[in-house]
Amino acid sequence: MIARFVSIWPQTLAVLRFYLILLLLSPQRNAFTQVLRPSIMALNPLEDVYANAALPASVKSFTIGLRTERRYLLKGLDNYSLTAAQPLKNGGLSLSLAYFAAGAFRQSETGLAYAKKLGQVDAGLQFSYHRLSIIGYGKAGALVADAGTLWRMTRQLKLAAGIYNLSGGRLGGMREKLAYETRCALGYQASLHLLLFLEIARQESKPVAVRAGMQYQPAQAVVLYAGMETATAQPYFACSFHRTGYSLLVSVRLHQQLGMTPGLGLLYVNEQR
């Protein structure tokens, strides 16, 4: 095992250098507006297309998915996202739309990502238009750029890393700016049916958050998800049912004081190539 890690150390250094350069190039800032994405928490940060700009390269056929969540069962705190991905010759393309509403406050994001396979590593870039509107107050938008990589270190180990809002977008050119975020997820494929992952995220002006989770397939048509994130101390559970290209996803997140956030998702994968 140690020998294997020694052999991939040069690649590790290359990936770390890439992210260090990106971070250094990013202007220093303080932000308080949370980026919408990935606000709908990806159940699997190494496979869910909208979780990382590099993941469209892993898509094998046309995929489209719709997800919604109602936060804390409160009408008016609904999340929606629509993501579509299409594989290309040596990569993939994805289009994502996200929308969040809380009374008079509305946030939306429209993004286009392109990812390319580079041997063991996939890299991708996403450009999104982030829009914020407050009824009776005003509207503003910002262009946001994200970068992501997915590195298949060994047959069992994968590493996904991403930087969100690399460009330091500011809403409507004003002082108010969007937070940047860095995420790194390590996945361990224990078996064909079980994936474990550990994700570390750092959003600007917030403490480091850790998420640990698993994806388990007890039967051909069923996948179970479970995990916990430390930032909000919210455990989550989800279950998806597959049948002939369609998947139905039911999820729930639990907050200690605010209660549960149920979610529903529908996914279609074109299994005929």
Binding site: M1, A190, L194, M228, A233, P235, Q256
Partner: protein, 694 residues
């Protein structure tokens, strides 16, 4: 084929580590109990049980579920896996075959090796002959702390009436685990012995008679005994571990009735208990009548009421002696159980009656506290195993039909990955006595929570354990003036490059809400202690990091090192930090008449909040878990002498096996904030003699 497995998988070899009182994982669990202030140091029933199994190993080819559960080293999936393996493939040929049993990893096998054996079924004549040879054991222990406290002055009203020695005398006889009886006498430091204030001699006496497998009677307890029901929501008097790095040790497992032979003076019943059973059905009934120590107050009508129960068992001063056995408790209960092949269900009921009504102090957090002369609890519990899944749970009700629920799940996701989940929901008014469940609070009640655990062995020699626990308390608690919440996260990495070396690194973060006391420079603003004032709450964090190494340097020498750091309320107004470093050396020369163990420890903490708990090896049947704080150092030396061996066989078979244990420990600590004050020296000395095999 099975012989091939045995021959090819000879990886275990002999016992890798010289025998230690407890496996590493259980040392951590004991430390956790001490940290939560729920460890009863006098309750050594579990250690006695392990010692018994060390001498009379469990035959894995005949062991029942109950016997395997008594070890508390195996989770429910492992127990079921062994029984199914035996059922499908017949008796085990050799201990090496344990590696072929599903869910049994090398670490588990190494932990249970000292207590199990694989034997063929003996002829009936041999079995009967074996039953004629029981095990008697007489234990005498004397301990004392130094220097002598000024409280040991019985000329004053507040002075201790007795000598500073703590004395324990215990005799126990075990007859092939079907008959056990024993007597115990105990005196704590400061308690009188054979004086006018204590004419009966010792402060505490205990006796028990316990019979197993007597036809229809599965177990019969006369005298002192412990009762364990379900998952501990209504009754659990044995040791109950809570969250720890053993994420699969989340389920309470025990026989309903167990003999009680510990020196603890509170957590047991005294009377009669019997479990009768035929085929799959069993019924347990027990009744108990005993006296307890309690603080008494007076209610509005002028009647004496119990304001709190005293569980420490200390009767040193005149006031403590006055409160000795001043209230009476009658208790009774019933448990009906039906066992299937891989499942069981049970129904239980427990009731209490006190000579005086219970009436706690009128504080907001006592709004739902136990009140009145009677208390009754009912519960339903179950467990079942489905392939790689084990489900268990208990639903209980208490006074006012306030409910409590625990639901757990153990699943083996892969041969290298196990996961666990426990959901608990206990209403604010749920009350029970002698209960220990898988909760954050010391007693079940006023809590909702979710525990998730994961254990993975990705490659040989590497193990990762993590858990997350989020919980909330809907009502007030002591020192918490509002509904509150908390969370706890832990990750532990264990690396065993070979059989001789083990490295463990553990990081734990705990965040709980407490009253915001506004401490400034450790000086408390007394104006804030106004009556009836409710404080605001704030989250206080505690981050704990530990690095522990074990090295079996040779066949007889083992070394432990630990470095531990703690950060309390990091970045907050009451921030404290502390560290602990210790080195343990254990020398157990082979075929010699002595064993020697010692530790040297350095520590420094900013205050009591940043204290660190460290398990210490002690004389057999005794726990020591020190709460380390202030600045200083500590050492102890344990010496064990096998006196018969030392005598060189001069006494032949005439003398029983005799072991002498000596322990000396000393702490030199000073106040970190006030270096001008001379460091304080304190020490303790223990002498213990065990006569056994007669």
């Amino acid at each position: 084929m099975r012989w091939c497995i045995v021959v090819m998988s000879c990886m275990l070899g002999g016992a890798v580590f010289a025998q230690q009182p407890l496996p590493q994982e259980q040392e951590q669990q004991v430390e956790n109990l001490a940290e939560r202030e729920v460890l009863e140091v006098d309750d050594d029933a579990y250690l006695q049980e392990l010692e018994h199994f060390r001498k009379r190993k469990i035959n894995l080819n005949r062991a029942t579920t109950g016997e395997l559960e008594r070890l508390q080293l195996l989770n429910a999936l492992q127990v079921q896996a062994l029984l199914q393996y035996r059922m499908l493939l017949g008796p085990l040929i050799h201990l090496y075959e344990l590696q072929a049993v599903p869910h049994w990893d090398v670490s588990t096998i190494q932990n249970v090796l000292p207590y199990v054996s694989v034997e063929d079924e003996k002829p009936i004549a041999q079995q009967l002959a074996a039953r004629l040879h029981g095990d008697g054991m007489l234990l005498l222990r004397l301990s004392q702390s130094f220097p002598r406290s000024p409280d040991f002055d019985d000329t004053t009203a507040a002075g201790y009436a007795g000598s500073p020695q703590k004395i324990l005398v215990r005799y126990r006889y075990n007859y092939k685990n079907v008959l056990q009886w024993g007597v115990l006498a105990d005196k704590d430091a400061g308690e009188p012995l054979f004086t006018k204030k204590q004419p009966t001699g010792f402060d505490f006496y205990s006796a028990h008679l316990f019979v197993r497998n007597l036809g229809l009677i599965q177990s019969l307890a006369v005298g002192d005994f412990a009762v364990n029901l379900g998952q501990g929501l209504v009754q659990w008097q044995s040791m109950g571990f809570r969250k720890s790095t053993e994420i699969t040790a989340i389920k309470r497992q025990s026989a309903v009735l167990r003999p009680y032979s510990s020196a603890g003076e509170y957590n047991f019943h005294r009377g009669l208990g019997v479990t009768m059973g035929k085929k799959r059905l069993s019924l347990t009934v027990f009744a108990s009548r005993r006296k307890l120590d309690a603080n008494l107050g007076v209610d509005a009508a002028g009647n004496a009421v119990i304001t709190s129960f005293l569980t420490g068992g200390l009767h040193r001063t005149s006031k403590e002696i006055e409160k000795r056995n001043n209230v009476r408790q009658l208790a009774g209960g019933v448990n009906l159980r039906y066992k299937g092949n891989s499942w069981q269900v049970g129904a239980s009921s427990v009731a209490y009656h006190f000579s005086n009504a219970v009436q706690k102090r009128e504080e907001p957090y006592n709004y739902y506290a136990l009140a009145g002369r009677r208390l009754a609890n009912f519960s339903l519990d179950y467990d079942c195993t489905l392939r790689n899944l084990h489900l268990f749970g208990e639903l209980a009700a208490g006074p006012g039909l306030q409910k409590g629920l625990i639901q757990g799940l153990l699943v083996s996701l892969d041969r290298r990955v196990d996961a666990s989940l426990v959901v608990r929901h206990l209403e604010s008014g749920f009350q029970s006595l002698y209960a220990t469940a898988f909760t954050e609070s010391s007693a079940p009640g006023n809590e909702s929570g979710l525990f998730l655990g994961l254990s993975a062995r990705p490659v040989a020699g590497v193990k990762v354990d993590l858990y997350a626990d989020v919980f909330r308390f809907p009502w007030l608690r002591y020192r918490v003036d509002g509904p509150s919440a908390g969370r706890e996260f832990l990750v532990q990495l264990t690396y065993r490059p070979d059989k001789r070396v083990e490295l463990v690194s553990r990081l734990r973060l705990e965040n709980k809400q407490f009253n915001d006391m506004q401490e400034v420079n450790n000086t408390i603003n007394l104006n804030q202690f106004l009556p009836n004032r409710l404080y605001d709450l704030r989250f206080i964090s505690k981050l704990n990091w530990r690095l522990h190494t074990v090295w079996q340097a040779s066949a007889s020498v083992r070394l432990h090192q630990r470095v531990e750091m703690v950060w309390y309320d990091r970045g907050g107004p009451a921030a404290e930090m502390g560290y602990l470093i210790y080195n343990d050396v254990t020398w157990q020369p082979v075929n010699q008449a002595f064993d020697l163990g010692s530790r040297v420890q350095l520590f420094e903490t900013d205050g009591f909040n940043s204290r660190i708990y460290a398990f210490e090896n002690d004389v057999p049947s005794s726990y020591t878990v020190s709460a380390i704080h202030q600045k200083g150092w500590r050492y102890y030396v344990n010496l064990k002498l096998d006196l018969l061996r030392l005598a060189g066989g001069h006494f032949g078979q005439r003398m029983p096996a005799t072991q002498l244990f000596l322990r000396w420990g000393q702490t030199v600590a000073g106040m970190r904030q006030q270096p001008a004050i001379q460091p304080f020296r304190s020490g303790e000395c223990k002498v213990q003699v065990i006569f056994s095999g007669f």
